[in-house]
Point group: none
Chain length 217, copies 4
């Protein structure tokens, strides 16, 4: 029988990082509050333009408190990243929890991803900031690499299940997922200087294009 949870659970157990991304240990407490606020500021003004004082103020506290939770700005940035990663996985799982058909799941996930990664300006900006930082910071790069890998695995599992069940026809599922993800990143990058490309009007068009790369629709 088709059981989405199983198929997902299968790899999610292997990738223990995903687990920590979904059920972060920081959730609920003050640290996460700071991280969420920092994420907001970072996505508005950029990593460098946000000071530790700003972050503290956004958390309605002072720097002294902030530095109790995180011992450096680097750690705050890292926490903001984890906040973002967790959000994506939470979103993905919330949206597909009740669905069984893997193709339908793919439709939902792609649609959600377009909305969250491309249309949502805050997320898009934050992502770009982090990637620019990743150019010169190993930890940031590695963090994003792992996140991206988990996303890729997420998609791949669904695609391969769909193919196995005969619901999808793809010669090379892995390559298809890669091309689709690259296309999404391409949109993201171009949106930096062509904001209209990722305006709400384009949402369905982009979604359909990405799905077509997975041979869906």
């Amino acid at each position: 029988l088709l059981n989405g949870n199983d198929s997902l659970g299968g790899y999610s157990l292997d990738l223990n990082i995903l687990d920590s991304m979904v059920h972060g240990m920081d959730s609920g407490n003050r640290s996460e509050y700071f991280a969420a606020g920092a994420f907001g500021l970072f996505s508005q003004r950029g990593l460098d333009a946000v000071t530790m004082d700003d972050i503290a103020a956004a958390g309605e506290a002072t720097k002294g408190s902030l530095y109790w939770h995180y011992k450096s700005k680097d750690e705050v940035i890292e926490a903001a990243c984890r906040h973002y990663y967790r959000q994506w996985h939470k979103d993905a799982q919330r949206g597909t929890a009740l669905i069984n058909d893997p193709v339908e799941k793919l439709r939902i996930i792609v649609s959600k991803s377009v909305r969250s990664c491309l249309i949502d300006e805050g997320n898009r900006v934050f992502t770009m900031e982090i990637l620019a930082r990743a150019l010169h910071d190993n930890a940031t790069r590695e963090g994003w690499r792992q996140f991206f890998e988990s996303v890729r695995a997420f998609y791949l599992a669904l695609v391969e299940t769909s193919v196995e069940l005969g619901l999808l026809k793809l010669e090379n599922p892995e390559k298809a997922v890669d091309v689709m993800l690259s296309a999404m990143e391409g949109y993201k990058l171009r949106a930096v200087f062509e904001p209209d490309l990722c305006s709400k009007v384009q949402e369905s068009a982009i979604t359909e294009h990405l799905l077509s790369l997975l041979n869906i629709n």
Copy 2:
């Protein structure tokens, strides 16, 4: 008749920015020397990690001298961008000057672009830095937008000529170029955290993939 220079000249006259990109006013003198050095430093260490002192030292001069040529760091960054833009266009024109077949031109340009924009790490890093800056700086964004537009126009002119001459079959040339460029940007973005994606080994594979999006080969 098919005349590459004409077809290029056609729109290049319209886009007066392109002209300045190809025949930059700074060329040859001291300012351009600073800009080139700054470009090198920026692509190695990142925009913020490079100080005005570094740039001055790289140009074998002092900060005072640098400030005589450029009145702020912003202007130096802008100049480094122009340096990059010019380089691309010079490269593109040098490579296609003696070729008449537009499809062949496309092959060359795509191949060159892959090498220069994706394989070349310095350029790739600099591009990312600039795009991150463009997120919060209008001038930078506008500059890149114009550059990208000129690149797009460059490709489009060649594609449309090819189609008109029956050398290429494309239902929607504009969209094909867009998809191809998005794919290229996608590679660029993923290469940030997956360096192997743009290693020299992948050069031909990437080139072929991009050309296939233009229905070439």
Copy 3:
């Protein structure tokens, strides 16, 4: 008759501070534990380089606990001083308790002092730290002054007793003690930058020199 305790008791009753130095009220409890730990850290890293967190951690407790015992860093430093003062007096009394001959007592005390104040690096470093602090802090200065005065009185009592008993020949006992103590401080100060001066090899040479200033041996 010769009674060491009497001669000592004589001034010790006048200087009630000495009493508290020998029978500290903090002894045994948690406060003293903190003070001893702080003393250790101070003599290794210096007063400023040690944070309240460090001291708390050294006492296997948290800062909150430390602040329950002492209400400021100043108080902790003061306590560390008392710890050091007490140690000296305990040491001096333990070493001479069973001896009756005041000259022999002097020999022992000088020898012990050399070992504890000059050869022992921890004590030497701590002393210097405290003296530097005393330059600008009245309380610290006054504390050290009283300690030094008690030490001086200790020596003087023994010297005067010896002279009275005809065991020692000194024209001006007070001056002799002063010169001897100054010489000891001189060694201490020079040892800061000439560590060999107070290495273990020099122990007996220094001791003999100091005793010779009291006309002993």
Copy 4:
């Protein structure tokens, strides 16, 4: 024949560090002005209590300017030390330039040293601060060690010359100088908490005591 300049010049050429102490390269310019001001502040308030802003203000400039001359507070402290070292040597040479008799020279130098190192409170305080710092900072320690060595050599040369000329009777000149210097340091240290010990009233008494250790008078 007796030629003070020769005898002094003899070792001063050997100790090239002394030369740099007397004819400092910083003299006259702005850097030295900062150093002198810093020295003053340090000797009043202590090394830690003086901020870079204070030093800049004392030099009638801003922090930016100060940081142009010295790249860290450590360097400023080092410069203040050099300022002090130079001062001593200048003073010593100025005072003995026209004198030929080495014993007379010794009288003058000891007298001057008492006045400058012991009676002068600023110098005394600064010295103590530096020595406390030397406890944990190698560079400071080494600097002071070299200075002290140069002072010792200065005295020793005069003493040995005097002995050779039969003007002074000393079995072990080296030891005599050492004992005298230790005694001086002893006064210095005790003056921290017994200010009267180095009050102006005591000047001649101390001087005579120190000279007596060299068997003079």
